[in-house]
């Protein structure tokens, strides 16, 4: 048996890669991500057109978590809808409750007492911290850093213990009522909240040590997913995603509600609007929320924790229902017919962790809304994805999605 040898020349590897690349050009691949995929943070589906590793087209497909909340709202009383608002942005149910209650109160021209307002501000800021802690942790995880997630989750767990003590539930709190809150704060609870916020900056500093100057994290987020000011406005972005582009829009400052004007805090804004800026804005927002919480606790108002004069809207406390005829009737009417809200239309937005959560309520009088539209920040924030994703590599999409920090429960409603 004879063998022949042949010389093979292996040229420059880079040149071969370039040659292969030109050969591949034009051969596009359709890639489907989700609806069940860890990077989509819920049930978002993306249909992408790839040229090699480069995204040329990205079409988000929504609706996998659509429950018809707006239809349900038209078929129940205002009070019955409170638990449904938990399930919009389920990472910050407390602030959804507050936004909804404030909308209906605005329509009913009802002002809640200072103590109730302070409780609401307090829980809103705690919800913001909880949502941002998760957002930051998961964002780190999307960029390949597992450890920070453990730190943020530990802190969030402490918050959930506080929520549980206040509302009786860890996740779906349903705490706010129209005209008040479900119950007054428990004895000694404020002290425990203060203890929590006192130790939180240390934990945030540890997360920052792990991420903020991390070379890998910087390489993966800096300059990725840059949104210009014009684009952010055109696509209706709100919340940290809008502020990261450098636009100073915070409804807590612009249109203060629930007594936010009494508290001193800064609104962090970014400069470039890339994934890294969005991360930095969230970190700073947590620190600002701590500032607000400390001010609320320091000067916590006493007095009523619900609107006592709103006899047709807020159900009286249980012990009064059981002992007094008038309160019994009042409670019966509110439970069966719903709170009596005058006819009219109202639009109210609150600055939620994810952006501006708006409720547009059309009432024809009585206890049931005629039409309720929920303006979900995640829905609007996601709509920019079609414009944002093309031109990035496939591996960047996880980072972009993580930095937009959306929740599908709110997006699909």
């Amino acid at each position: 048996m004879s063998t022949t040898t042949k010389e093979i020349s292996v040229g420059d590897i880079g040149a071969r890669g370039a040659e292969a690349n030109t050969k591949l050009d034009g051969d596009k691949m359709a890639l489907n991500v989700g609806p069940s995929h860890p990077t989509t943070h819920g049930v978002l589906r993306l249909i992408m057109e790839l040229n090699g590793d480069l995204i040329e087209k990205c079409e988000p497909v929504l609706g996998y978590l659509h429950r018809g909340d707006e239809k349900i709202a038209e078929n129940m009383t205002y009070n019955q809808f409170v638990p449904y608002t938990d399930r919009l942005d389920y990472l910050a149910p407390l602030s959804n409750n507050v936004a909804y209650a404030l909308t209906v109160e605005k329509l009913a021209n009802l002002e809640v007492p200072p103590r109730c307002q302070a409780i609401r501000v307090l829980v809103c800021e705690m919800a913001r911290i909880s949502s941002h802690l998760l957002g930051m942790g998961v964002f780190g995880m999307d960029a390949g850093a597992w450890t920070p997630f453990m730190y943020t989750f530990t802190e969030r767990e402490k918050l959930y213990t506080l929520f549980e003590e206040l509302t009786g539930a860890r996740f779906t709190t349903s705490y706010t009522r129209i005209g008040g809150v479900a119950r007054d704060i428990p004895e000694g609870w404020l002290g425990r909240v203060e203890k929590f916020v006192d130790q939180l900056p240390k934990a945030i500093a540890e997360v920052e040590k792990l991420l903020t100057r991390n070379r890998i994290f910087l390489d993966r987020t800096e300059g990725i997913g840059e949104i210009s000011k014009e684009d952010a406005l055109a696509y209706g972005l709100t919340g940290p995603n809008l502020r990261a582009t450098g636009i100073d829009l915070d409804l807590r400052k612009d249109k203060p509600y629930s007594g936010y004007e009494q508290y001193d805090f800064d609104v962090p804004i970014g400069t470039k609007g890339d994934c890294y800026d969005r991360y930095l804005v969230r970190i700073e927002e947590v620190l600002q929320s701590i500032r607000i919480i400390k001010q609320v606790i320091k000067d916590f108002p006493t007095g009523a924790w619900y609107a006592e004069d709103a006899k047709k809207i807020f159900a009286p406390p249980k012990e009064k229902i059981l002992s007094s005829m008038e309160e019994l009737i009042q409670n019966f009417m509110i439970v069966t017919e719903g709170p009596q809200i005058p006819a009219g239309e109202v639009y109210f937005e609150a600055e939620n962790p994810k952006g501006a959560l708006g409720f547009y309520v059309v009432s024809k009088g009585g206890g049931v809304p005629y039409r309720m539209k929920i303006r979900a920040p995640s829905f609007c924030n996601l709509s920019i994805l079609e414009k944002l994703a093309p031109g990035h590599f496939l591996s960047d999409i996880t980072v972009i999605l993580g930095s937009l920090d959306f929740v599908m429960g709110e997006c699909d409603r």
């Binding site: 239809k71 439970v335 017919e337």
Partner: protein, 205 residues
């Protein structure tokens, strides 16, 4: 803040507008034919850079103009909202010009409004359903659509062949319970709002 000088000059500049009474924000009614040019003027001349929300209202089957769209614009200059109502003149084939050329944010809002109400937005770049699946035949937020839902075939023929599955309405037993505050006293007992069918009552055809 949006003050009276501003609203007055706005009404003078655009004579087709009519002001509506509102308890919160300045509200105008704008005919559909002028809507695109009006929102363009609002964005370019008046500083309303953000389209916050776009939705529709179904005024019920008996109404003269059954559908109307509602737009909320926000201005970073004025730090306030303006609400724009527009009536859809045709009740059977409601339509409205699309403002997604002016505000790309309207793109998804209009798709959702089309999905839920069946309002056709002319000149929309990609008007298809967004929350329901593409083949879904109904418009769920119309008032005649029952809360329980309507029997609907599944679009995937191969799945249906194996599983015989379809989309079935959910009976509304167990709530939500609401009592009506008008009519005879026998009606005022709390009951599930949509009782078109229950276990005891046959499903209407």
């Amino acid at each position: 803040m949006i003050d009276e000088d501003f609203t007055k000059s706005l009404l003078d500049k655009h004579s087709y507008l009519t002001q509506r009474e509102s308890i919160d924000w300045f509200t105008v009614e704008c005919p559909g034919s002028e809507l695109v040019s009006f929102v363009k003027a609002m964005r370019d001349d008046e500083g309303f850079e953000l389209l916050i929300d776009l939705t529709a209202i179904d005024h019920g089957e008996g109404a003269e103009c059954r559908f109307s769209t509602v737009i909320h614009l926000y201005s970073l200059v004025h730090r306030g909202y303006v609400r724009i109502h527009s009536l859809c003149l045709d009740n059977d084939k409601p339509s409205m010009p699309s403002v997604s050329d002016v505000y790309p944010a309207a793109n998804w809002h209009e798709r959702e409004t089309f999905d839920m109400f069946g309002i056709h937005f002319s000149d929309h770049p990609n008007l298809k359903r967004i929350l329901m699946w593409d083949e879904y035949p109904h418009f769920p937020l119309r008032k005649e659509f029952p809360l329980a839902g309507i029997d609907t075939p599944l679009p995937a023929a191969d799945v249906v062949e194996v599983t015989k599955a379809s989309v079935e309405p959910a009976p509304m037993m167990g709530g939500p319970f609401v009592s009506s505050n008008s009519g005879p006293i026998s009606d005022s007992e709390p009951r599930a709002k949509d009782e078109s069918w229950t276990e005891r009552k046959e499903k209407p055809l």
